[in-house]
């Protein structure tokens, strides 16, 4: 460890870092703009100036940019030097010459990096007396607002958008003090990662348009650490509330998971919490007054429950707490997953693999650090966007490492590394059904039917481990691809294989496992990552409940069935005919959910569940990392509460032994651990509810929160009694422990002098490193030395079947999500329903692009325009999955469909 002298005091710092990182990691307040921990240094803003001295004798020193100099043992620098300080203050004065000084009306005000640095450097008197330069603003779509006059030209936005995230339509234009950051013309930003501009931009140029619609200053938000609900990656988020409305979602740093960035679905998809479509009241159908109070509904439910055969259907988007409580209520044998047999089978396979311990499943950070990636069948751009962002980093970093092995340059020296590596890319093979925006950074791409993708996988596994079976009748193209890919994987030190469930193919999962295991046997640390479908798909799958098909079979002979359906719109997973058939066999249907949907329509009793923002819950992400999402606010409407609380109420109404403990989340997790040992560790996901620091709770509100009497100033100025939260150690006040909370309980990032999201630097062990005390989340499975069991059956090559179609889903980042489409902007970016056929199939059916086609499947008829897809293999019919109004299909099945031109 090199020692450097900062203002004559020695400090041990990490080798390979630059001086800015070293100073920030030591907790010093050194201002910066253009540097970003995830993107490195370019030396543009000149804000991070310090003095560097030649040796002990040198008293004059030289001003240098700390972000552009690496640490060297024995080096002497000064942060406090008068000339360096004066220069830093001057940089802000320069930046402010053209800044509009519009903080009072700026959304960034109060959480602005520019404000922080202005105060930090001490610039407070304006000497520039000339006219300011002004710019026009652009329309950038429904999610991001643009206010270019606030720009301080730090170049972070383009570096993030273009270099880091691979976006194409945001850039820098013009020169000298006219440089402009935006699109070449007005229009919707095309990158699904555009929302991070809001946090990357140190001032108010790019701001959150959804927040603007119900704006609140950052300091007036009530915040809690939450987990994103929109896919299986479980990105860590912070959600903020005021006056009973969820106002925004921002990134919550977790170095192992999402790092600094979210996707736009995660950031903006929160509006469902505020939706008009929320279920706000327990309902008992077919009563003159359907709305019922808590006690009335409980009384009624008791009559439906006692003496009936209870069936519970869990949910891949409900918390472990709720799923487990339902399982406890109905009994393990009566607890089912609300998903098809096929999907359950695939998910069980994944859980088996993980539980067997034969292979390592990487975190997103490990994927970033991979030096070769094979994506087998999963359209991660649409189903696991932040994973796609991580893979992009792997591709770039691998190329950078390759270049800097030849010409040594520190990794943080961003532009220099890019100039050196030019267009080099690390290895990525993207093998998917359809082309994706991802292909442009791929070394190998191939589009094929799922079985053929699996066959490619088995062929790769066979090359890696010739004792594995050879793929029969493999085409030359397949062998070529397999040879190239296996060579690259073999050369890599940390190869990662990614697959998932969205192709509805278990062969894919087996093939991916065989490759990873074969690589692992070659003594390298291969990673195998799975993408699941929902935020708690993994958690539910780990409970190993049976499929929907099984419940249908089981209720066929049972009488007096009361089904309790937990936060699950079955019509999204199961073809409508089957769901209808199931419901027709249930005598009573009790549904707990947050929003009205097709399933809730069927409920005899409908119970309003809390959303993630209104409750606590534990979710298990795709790497089997259990993570706690905390309650952001207590709904004023007391009828809305977490499903597990409702279910416990039902349980206690059935038994007399209930002691009230049943519904405490901490106790639930302990019970879960003892009932289902695969969950060992979930009780440690976050500190228990009685956790206190020096006797104090952790406040959800910052101490900058507007005075108490203004808390409910929209209604009254008398001070309300603070709400009591008995479920966690977070409090509903601005008082409490002001230091660093344990990482799973960080409700917001703030540090003295750092009001912007940049304050996260203070929470990290070193800049860009783990959070102090370790990143949140408990990984439930780890690799052991167990020997792998390879698969034996290899599917036949895919061939179209005359008169039949293989039905496959196409996922859309915007549109396929059940909840995110409640955000207007996201809905407006979602595609309209369509049907895709291959070019040949369209020609054979004499159909042209855009022709309206009638499709009859499962007894239903849909009329959608045709979208001819040149890359689609023949014989496959593609439908957009999960769009509002589109029901689930027999994905992966061969079906008879009549297509008719309307």
């Amino acid at each position: 460890m090199p020692t450097i002298y900062i203002d004559n005091k020695p400090f041990d710092v990490k080798a390979g870092k630059n001086l800015l990182e070293a100073c920030l990691s030591l907790g010093l307040d050194l201002p910066y703009f253009c540097w970003h921990p995830a993107m490195g240094s370019i030396g543009a803003c000149r804000q991070c100036a310090i003095k560097v001295f030649k040796d002990e004798e040198d008293t004059r020193g030289r001003i240098m940019m700390s972000c552009m100099e690496g640490v060297k043992d024995g080096m002497r620098i000064s942060v406090e030097d008068d000339a360096a300080k004066a220069f830093r203050a001057q940089v802000v004065e320069w930046l402010m010459t053209n800044h509009p000084h519009d903080c009072p009306v700026c959304d960034e005000g109060g959480s602005c990096h520019l404000q922080d640095i202005t105060v930090m450097t001490g610039h407070n008197y304006r000497r520039y007396e000339f006219k300011k330069r002004t710019y026009p603003n652009q329309y950038l779509g429904p999610l991001i607002n643009h206010e270019m006059n606030r720009c301080i030209q730090c170049y972070r936005c383009v570096r993030y958008y273009r270099d880091y995230a691979g976006g194409k339509d945001l850039n820098v234009f013009a020169a000298h003090n006219h440089v402009y950051f935006g699109r070449e013309k007005d229009g919707v930003l095309q990158s699904p990662f555009s929302g991070n501009l809001v946090e990357v931009c140190p001032t108010g140029v790019f701001t959150d348009k959804t927040l603007k619609e119900h704006y609140t200053r950052k300091w007036d938000l009530t915040n809690a650490p939450t987990v994103c609900q929109h896919c299986s990656l479980g990105c860590n988020t912070i959600s903020g509330e005021r006056y009973g409305k969820l106002r925004n979602v921002v990134n919550r740093y977790n170095s192992e998971v999402n790092g600094y960035f979210l996707c736009d679905k995660g950031r903006f998809g929160y509006e469902f919490v505020n939706s008009e479509n929320r279920i706000t009241q327990p309902l008992i159908r077919n009563r003159t007054i359907e709305a019922a109070g808590h006690d009335a509904v409980m009384q009624h439910v008791r009559t439906l429950v006692s003496g009936h055969t209870l069936i519970g259907i869990g949910s891949p988007r409900a918390s472990l707490e709720s799923n487990f409580t339902l399982m406890e209520l109905v009994g393990k044998e009566n607890f089912y997953q609300g998903i098809t047999d096929d999907l359950v089978y695939i998910e069980q396979k994944i859980v088996d693999i993980l539980q067997s311990g034969t292979i390592h499943t990487p975190s997103l950070k490990e994927i970033e650090q991979a030096d070769a990636v094979l994506v087998l069948g999963e359209d991660i751009w649409n189903t696991a966007p932040v994973m796609a962002l991580a893979v992009r980093q792997s591709v770039m970093k691998t190329a950078a490492t390759h270049s800097t092995e030849q010409v040594p340059l520190p990794a943080w020296h961003d532009n220099a590394v890019k100039e050196l590596m030019q267009e080099d890319k690390g290895f990525l093979a993207n093998i998917t059904l359809l082309p994706s925006p991802f292909d442009e950074i791929s070394t190998v791409t191939m589009n094929a039917a799922p079985d053929d993708i699996a066959r490619l996988g088995f062929a790769i596994a066979h090359i890696l481990n010739p004792s594995l079976p050879e793929v029969p009748n493999a085409s030359e193209a397949l062998i070529n691809h397999a040879t190239n890919i296996s060579k690259a994987l073999q050369q890599a030190k940390h190869p990662v294989i990614i697959t998932g469930t969205s192709c509805w193919s278990n062969a894919l999962i087996r093939a991916a496992f065989d490759i990873a295991a074969a690589l692992d046997m070659n003594e390298k640390k291969a990673g195998l990552a799975f993408v699941m479908q929902e935020s708690n798909s993994m958690g539910l799958a780990m409970m190993r409940a049976s499929s929907f098909d099984r419940v249908v079979a089981n209720v066929r002979n049972a009488a007096n069935v009361t089904a309790i359906i937990l936060e699950n719109d079955l019509y999204r997973y199961i073809p409508a005919g089957e769901v209808d058939a199931f419901f027709s066999r249930c005598k009573n249907i009790i549904v707990l959910d947050t929003l009205h949907n097709r399933t809730t329509e069927k409920a005899h009793v409908l119970i309003p569940a809390a959303t993630f923002a209104e409750g606590d819950g534990t979710f298990v992400n795709n790497e089997a990392r259990a993570q706690r999402s905390s309650q952001v606010f207590m709904p004023a409407n007391k009828e809305i509460k977490e499903s597990f609380k409702w279910l416990s109420d039902i349980k206690s109404s059935m038994t007399i032994t209930a002691n009230g403990h049943d519904k405490h989340p901490d106790d639930l997790m302990l019970a879960l651990e003892s009932k289902l040992p695969q969950f060992a560790g979930v009780s440690r996901v976050a500190p228990p509810h009685d956790y206190r620091v020096h006797g104090a709770r952790i406040p959800r509100e910052s101490h900058r929160y507007s005075g108490r009497t203004a808390m409910l100033a929209n209604m009254t100025v008398s001070e309300p009694q603070p709400l009591q939260d008995d479920d966690s150690s977070l409090s509903y006040t601005m008082e409490g422990y002001r230091g660093m909370p344990p990482s799973p309980l960080i409700p917001f990032f703030w540090a003295p002098g750092w009001n912007s999201c940049q304050s996260v630097n203070k929470y990290q062990q070193e800049t860009g490193g783990s959070l102090k005390g370790g990143d949140p989340g408990v990984r439930l499975f780890e690799q052991t030395t167990a020997a792998p069991v390879f698969s034996k059956d290899i599917p036949d090559a895919y061939t179209p079947r005359p008169g039949k179609w293989m039905l496959l889903p196409q996922y859309h980042l915007f549109g396929s999500g059940e909840l995110s489409v409640y955000t207007k902007g996201i809905a407006s970016l979602s595609p309209e329903p369509y049907i895709s056929l291959s070019k040949r199939d369209a020609e054979m059916s004499r159909l042209n692009n855009g022709d309206p086609v009638n499709v009859k499947t499962n007894g239903k008829t849909y009329a959608f325009p045709l979208s001819v897809n040149e890359s689609l293999p023949d014989g496959i019919m593609l439908l957009p999955a999960g769009l509002t109004g589109l029901e689930a299909q027999d994905w992966g099945a061969w079906v008879n469909i009549s297509t008719v031109i309307v």
């Binding site: 803003c45 004066a86 000298h176 003090n177 030849q406």
Partner: protein
């Protein structure tokens, strides 16, 4: 007095053709090198000659070449680039060489490329030099046809391709790393150094960028030796130098003279002294981004060290003379307007500081200045110094300003006191 670079150039005659150039002894140096001189020997010869880069910074050319990785393991292709951007206001020396004797430059480039074993070379020419573009394009073709370019040059096994790139206008393109970005089809913003272009340059490969005049010296050094080259000079910086004078002198122009002649000789003899009715007040000795010298400095030698000792830089060696009828404030304002416009906009001090300086100077010139303005100007000259900005543009811009504030302080004061420009 020997004038190796320009003795065959006659301003009113067309450029030397390949034939004509060969008749003056052209490409003999290339033949010499190709018949058995090693790249290392060429590098050493040029280093020994103490040829200093004529692009402004004055670094020993042979030593600069020696940082290029050599040998079979070196990254390929390597590049040799002639910097013919010449956009520094007041500078017009390279034009003479480009338009008058293009093959002299080409031969120098081929030799330089040989010395570093580059495979590809570019002439990066400023857009405005249409005539030069024409002759260079033609000359490159002639050189290919004669076997001086292309594969296996003169049987030496050395290959070199050469292309002409004409710019699209930005002073920044002259800065060698910004030039690389421009050649890569990017915005011409500068790159951080290190890594130096010799290690990671054009397309990430080892690259040398040399000025036109620098490269034009090479064939003569190879032909006549290092000692001869040193002997051309009146000072410790070797060779001849193209000096130029513009402004209100009797005979503005360019002359090749021994390095180290005095400024007095240059201005009074070669440029014929000041026009009638005006007196000399100040001189920017090496282009717009150098400090003023004044009448008290007339006897200094025009070499790198002496000009530096007098508080300025030899830069490009083309002087801009400021006479007694020209307002120093207006003069400096014009310069700052140029620099503010040509700032690339990458780093804060230059992007925001220069327009501020320009506006202050303009308000002074209009008679709207205040005493505090002089402090602000002074502050900028200090804070836009080397190291504080990303590249040398802004520090260069501050050189004439800081010396104007020193030598012509009265003029600034008068603008403030009289609330108008005394020269209007």
């Amino acid at each position: 007095m020997e004038r190796p670079l320009t003795s065959n150039i006659h301003p009113n005659r067309p450029a030397l053709t390949l034939k004509e150039y060969e008749m003056t002894g052209g490409y003999a140096a290339l033949r010499k090198v190709c018949s058995g001189m090693s790249p290392a020997a060429v590098q050493k010869l040029v280093a020994d000659s103490n040829l200093k880069g004529r692009g402004g910074a004055g670094f020993n050319t042979g030593i600069k070449w020696s940082f290029v990785p050599m040998g079979d393991d070196a990254p390929h292709p390597k590049y040799l680039i002639c910097n013919a951007d010449e956009m520094e206001p007041g500078t017009f020396k390279d034009r003479l060489l480009l338009e008058g004797n293009p093959h002299q430059l080409l031969e120098g480039m081929i030799l330089a490329a040989y010395a570093i074993q580059a495979e590809v070379s570019y002439v990066f020419l400023r857009w405005a030099y249409h005539k030069a573009a024409e002759v260079i394009r033609k000359s490159i073709q002639e050189a290919y046809d004669a076997g001086y370019l292309g594969k296996d040059i003169l049987g030496s096994g050395f290959h070199l391709d050469m292309h002409l790139h004409t710019g699209v206008g930005r002073y920044m393109c002259g800065e060698e790393t910004a030039l690389l970005n421009a050649l890569e089809g990017k915005r011409a913003t500068p790159r951080a150094k290190p890594p130096f272009p010799q290690i990671s340059g054009l397309f990430g490969k080892p690259t040398i960028v040399n000025n036109v005049e620098t490269l034009c010296c090479i064939s003569h050094i190879v032909n006549n030796g290092a000692d001869w080259f040193k002997g051309l000079s009146y000072s410790e910086d070797s060779g001849t130098k193209l000096y130029g004078v513009s402004g209100k002198v009797k005979r503005p122009g360019t002359w090749e003279l021994p390095m180290g002649i005095t400024m007095r000789e240059l201005i009074e003899e070669h440029a014929g002294g000041m026009k009638d009715g005006v007196e000399l007040r100040g001189v920017l000795p090496g282009g717009a981004s150098t400090d003023f010298l004044t009448t008290q400095h007339l006897d200094i030698k025009l070499d790198y060290k002496s000009v530096a000792a007098a508080g300025s830089r030899l830069g490009t060696g083309t002087m801009i003379v400021m006479d007694s009828s020209t307002c120093p404030v207006g003069f400096v304002h014009n310069l700052q307007h140029f620099f503010a416009q040509e700032s690339c906009g990458f780093c804060t001090p230059c992007r925001e500081g220069l327009p501020w300086v320009e506006k202050i100077l303009w308000s002074l010139e209009k008679g709207e200045g205040k005493p505090e303005d002089l402090e602000l100007l002074q502050m900028h000259t200090q804070l836009l110094g080397p190291g504080n900005t990303f590249c040398a543009l802004a520090p260069g811009a501050m050189e004439p300003l800081q010396s104007a504030l020193k030598y012509f302080h009265d003029d600034f004061e008068k603008h403030i006191q009289h609330k108008k420009c005394p020269y209007d």
